[in-house]
């Protein structure tokens, strides 16, 4: 990638994040936690709370579904979701 393309992408991102009124420090802290969660199960468990907080919410669920086995697993979820997760996974 040429330097001009990098600058162009950066300026696009900057203008987009500014127009969305995103706090760049908050957003980069969220990205830091997101990538840290890949190798740290403690951070992974709290990831849903971090995501929710970043959207001024208290509830979040991140799940994956294997299409071959139809198995659904929760990667991270807030307490309210976890409390009903088993019933949800079985029923829905």
């Amino acid at each position: 990638m040429r330097l001009s393309e990098v600058s162009l992408r950066r300026s696009r991102y900057k203008s987009l994040s500014t127009s969305l009124n995103i706090d760049p420090h908050q957003f980069s802290a969220l990205l830091r936690d997101l990538y840290a969660a890949t190798s740290d199960v403690t951070i992974r468990a709290a990831l849903a709370d971090r995501l929710a907080a970043n959207f001024a919410a208290r509830s979040c669920m991140l799940q994956v579904r294997d299409l071959h086995s139809s198995k659904v697993s929760a990667v991270s979820a807030t307490k309210n979701v976890l409390a009903k997760w088993q019933a949800y996974a079985q029923h829905y």
Binding site: Y35, R44, L51, A52, C60, Q63, V64, R65, Y92
Partner: protein, 299 residues
């Protein structure tokens, strides 16, 4: 059924608001809303389904309760910004979990060896060890694992071990300069055990700390099930197995006969039977076979 999930399946890779998928009025009439969402204080949502890898679909949903403000277009746009990072992070998680599973499988296999194996970093910090090494470190008087480090009681030998690990783990040109070193450690009562320090295959990644392997060779470390394993392999009787292990432990035939309370003639007959079953002709062949065959070290 999960109305959001079902309807978002047609919009994979796209951040959406709940209202983009199903109207609030219709949502509130569903069994799913009344049985699951409402008790969980979930009403508004911004979410997305996205492909992590072929055959693996992820879903992220962020919710607010009914009395909170609904998510807006700017929330949807913010989630859209986040999606490539969520995808990449989930891919990394999958890869790391696969590596972890491989590592656990390898150590599960190592656990069945009667040779102790430790993987250490500089300063003799133990990164992983198999069951035989753990068992030996707990019982040996000349060696221990203290605060996560392998230590020898003899300060001179301990320093030699540290130097050997340092050298084995150094890989300035992508491969270790050390061919390895064997340290014989006195274990009291005329006994010794040997530590073989060797390099591990080089890792192309510069961010991974250098590691070395230590193998502990102690004849007495053979697991209890080793005798059962050998007995099963050669179809030995219990008496023949006892005789074989007496010989492996350095006893003479006459000493075994005396210890076992059998005549020397009976012991000789048992030994002939052991020879016939193992295909050996002499005691020296028998002992060499038992210690040399790596499959017999598995239990």
């Amino acid at each position: 059924m999960d109305e959001w999930y079902i309807r978002a399946q047609h919009r994979v890779g796209e951040a959406v608001l709940g209202e983009d998928l199903v109207s609030e009025k219709l949502l509130m009439q569903t069994e799913w809303y009344n049985d699951y969402l409402r008790p969980s204080e979930i009403h508004h949502v911004v979410g997305a389904e996205f492909e992590v890898e072929p055959g693996l679909i992820a879903a992220v949903a962020i919710h607010r309760p009914a009395d909170a403000a609904a998510f807006e277009a700017k929330d949807r746009a913010k989630l859209a910004l986040l999606l490539p990072h969520l995808t990449q992070a989930l891919r990394l998680m999958r890869r790391m979990e696969a590596n972890e599973r491989g590592l656990r499988g390898g150590f599960h296999a190592l656990a069945s060896l009667s040779v102790g194996v430790l993987v250490v970093s500089a300063g003799n910090r133990v990164r992983s060890l198999n069951e035989a090494a753990e068992r030996f470190a707990k019982t040996a008087s000349a060696m221990r694992i203290h605060n996560g480090r392998l230590e020898l009681n003899d300060p001179t030998l301990d320093e030699r071990l540290r130097a050997a690990v340092r050298l084995a783990s150094l890989a300035p040109f992508g491969h270790s300069l050390s061919a390895g070193e064997t340290i014989v450690v006195p274990a009291g009562q005329g006994q010794t055990f040997a530590l073989r320090v060797g390099p591990l295959p080089p890792d192309p990644s510069a961010v991974v700390e250098p590691l070395a392997a230590i193998f502990i060779g102690v004849p007495a470390m053979a697991p209890r099930s080793w005798s059962e394993h050998i007995r099963a392999v050669y179809n030995l009787s219990p008496a023949e197995t006892r005789l074989l292990f007496a010989l492996l432990n350095g006893r003479r035939l006459a000493e075994y006969a005396s210890d076992a309370g059998v005549s020397i003639h009976t012991a000789q007959t048992q030994l002939k039977s052991v020879f016939a079953k193992t295909g050996c002709r002499r005691q020296s062949d028998l002992i060499r076979r038992m210690f040399a065959d790596p499959m017999l070290r598995l239990a």
